[in-house]
């Protein structure tokens, strides 16, 4: 039987259509149809200046806008050989890690929702709200920030930010234990996710899966550690990987647990960054008056909450990009769905899709 899921369906996390071939209740093929949210990101980029691209990157992965800004400005600064002040680097890392926690909270919450746990979703949104409040305090926006600029930031940190960030961390750290109690080791949740949708490491690599999904398969690969950009080499943190604790290595539970543990690591980074951050510094100091990168091209990857975000920027020396390609981590994560979803029941496919943590805005661009 051929079954259609979506494009409007709560468990597709956006506008995604799946054409599912089933044999009884067992899936024999999944064909994802994407493009419902295509906004011609790459075409638009060829018509606007380099600074005008930044708000577009916000709208690609709208759940981790800071991380997308970060990826773009890091690539641009490497292309233009700009060295930004220490304070800017620290603020960027702080924002990116807060964003990672916020994004993972949403991913875990909606994943719980997909497999039938409603309460944890509300708990996680309650805490995510606090992070959004801090972003609002910093740059006035709650979802789409346009905060990181090439060579600097749009605003300096507001007065009292560091203290409120510490207050948040003190509040949030014990909450991870609470999530563990309420969801991670919940028997029904384990039954629904452990051993489901096993993704072996070689399949994951061949499909270009990255980030927490890849680490859930036991591959210790994190760009923050392995190809450090910005100032990530200064911080002491671990890279959690799946170990197949509740089932086979690389199942949905492993991917879930990697995200949960990663939030703890982000807290570690945040504490170090908030302590070390220089007190003074002008965040507008190195912003170039005119952005005209030299002729050439660059491919630069950064680690967003969803995985390797790559920007391929080709400059012809004018203030408008000649070509800008975004390699989005959710795009590659969705492509593996057919491979790991076959042979499972229909309800498991919803769990697998939830565990991959896709954002359609980034897939369709």
């Amino acid at each position: 039987m051929v079954l259609n899921i979506g494009p409007q369906h709560p468990s597709t996390h956006g506008v995604l259509r799946l054409q599912v071939k089933t044999d009884g209740e067992i899936i024999s093929e999944i064909k994802p149809f994407i493009g419902y949210l295509h906004r011609c990101f790459e075409k638009h980029c060829e018509n606007v200046t380099y600074e005008q691209v930044i708000p577009f990157t916000d709208r690609c992965d709208y759940l981790a806008s800071m991380a997308n800004n970060f990826g773009y400005v890091v690539a641009m600064e490497e292309l233009m050989e700009i060295k930004v002040p220490e304070r800017v680097e620290y603020i960027r890392v702080i924002m990116a890690e807060l964003q990672r926690i916020a994004s993972h909270l949403l991913a875990l919450g909606t994943f719980g929702l997909d497999v039938g746990a409603f309460t944890p979703f509300l708990y996680m949104f309650r805490d995510r709200e606090r992070i959004l409040d801090m972003f609002e305090m910093t740059c006035g926006a709650r979802l789409l920030y346009n905060y990181m600029w090439v060579g600097g930031l749009s605003h300096d940190l507001p007065i009292g930010f560091v203290e409120s960030a510490f207050r948040f961390l003190d509040y949030f750290e014990p909450k991870i234990e609470e999530y563990n109690n309420i969801l991670t080791y919940n028997k029904i949740f384990i039954e629904r996710t452990a051993d489901v949708g096993v993704m072996p490491a070689d399949v994951a690599i061949s499909y270009g899966v990255s980030g927490p999904n890849l680490r859930g398969s036991g591959v210790k690969w994190d760009i923050r550690k392995d190809e450090p950009y910005s100032i990530y080499d200064r911080f002491d943190f671990d890279v959690p990987v799946g170990i197949g604790e509740k089932g086979n290595l690389g199942d949905c539970w492993d991917r879930f647990n990697v995200r949960l543990t990663e939030m703890g690591e982000s807290i570690k980074i945040l504490r170090q960054a908030l302590t070390q951050i220089p007190k003074n510094g002008d965040v507008h100091q190195t912003i170039p008056k005119k952005i005209r990168p030299p002729k050439g091209s660059i491919y630069k990857r950064t680690e967003t909450p969803r995985g390797d975000l790559g920007f391929y920027i080709i400059s012809d020396g004018s203030p408008i990009p000649n070509r800008l390609k975004m390699r989005s981590p959710a795009f590659t994560a969705l492509s593996v769905l057919d491979e790991i979803g076959r042979g499972w029941m229909l309800s498991d496919v919803i769990a697998i899709l939830g565990s991959l943590d896709i954002v359609l805005g980034e897939i369709d661009r």
């Binding site: 994407i34 499909y207 270009g208 036991g218 197949g244 390797d308 790559g310 391929y312 492509s335």
Partner: protein
């Protein structure tokens, strides 16, 4: 049985210490696998206690596997390709990329992925390009998870014969990346098993990211707006 298992565990742990985790991950039996992992963790602890230098190396993310391509990987790999596949290179050697002719690309890709000291097992990105003057180009960013090397392959074709052999079955993500490049530039990847548009609707006309693209007048009876008001 248990002797055999011990022997197997010792074997895979030794391999894993040299950076090859596949062996461990491929063990079918769950109990054996977890035992092997425990043994591996133990061995690693013992190792780090012995040699403090090694911790530093892994902490900074440096590869412990022998890196055969020190210096400029693009140049080195380019030379290797010329040796192995004479007459496949297109143009001069460059630091930033390797320019290839399309003909042998599938064989070269398979070789790049499987050759022991290259092992480019991860295809990062395929970027289409319109270089003007009737030339389209596909750029492949490859990365080796084991050796931590990255190279860039470029293949240029003319618009009239915009055909590049597909590498969809070498790196599986190539499937969607090639569909996207086809969607935007109209480069046909020969041998692709399911080459359809991916982001745009099936019946869209033209190749949007080509520089001379013009938007179609109407789509299913709906006017497509052309004037971009409020830009720049």
């Amino acid at each position: 049985m248990s002797d055999e298992r011990d022997k197997l565990i010792a074997e895979v742990v030794e391999k894993a210490l040299r950076g090859d985790m596949d062996e461990i991950n491929n063990i079918e039996d769950r109990v054996t696998r977890s035992k092997a992992k425990a043994a591996l963790a133990k061995a690693k602890r013992a190792q780090t206690a012995d040699s403090p230098h090694q911790i530093e190396a892994s902490d900074t993310g440096e590869s412990t596997a022998p890196n055969t391509l020190s210096g400029n990987p693009n140049q080195k790999v380019g030379e290797r390709i010329s040796e192995k596949f004479p007459d496949s290179r297109d143009g001069e050697v460059a630091d930033t990329h390797i320019q290839l002719k399309p003909d042998q690309w599938n064989e070269i890709a398979t070789w790049l992925k499987t050759e022991e000291d290259l092992l480019f097992d991860s295809l990062q990105c395929i970027t289409g390009m319109d270089l003007g003057e009737n030339v389209l180009e596909a750029r492949y960013n490859l990365h080796s998870m084991k050796h931590r090397n990255a190279i860039e392959i470029r293949i240029a074709v003319s618009r009239e014969i915009a055909q590049i052999p597909s590498i969809e079955q070498v790196w599986r993500i190539g499937d969607w990346f090639e569909r996207e490049t086809y969607d935007m530039y109209g480069i046909r990847f020969t041998g692709h098993r399911d080459l359809r548009r991916i982001l745009l609707p099936e019946d869209w006309e033209g190749w949007p990211l080509r520089k001379d693209y013009e938007v179609q007048e109407t789509y299913h009876g709906i006017m497509v707006p052309k004037v971009k008001e409020g830009w720049e």
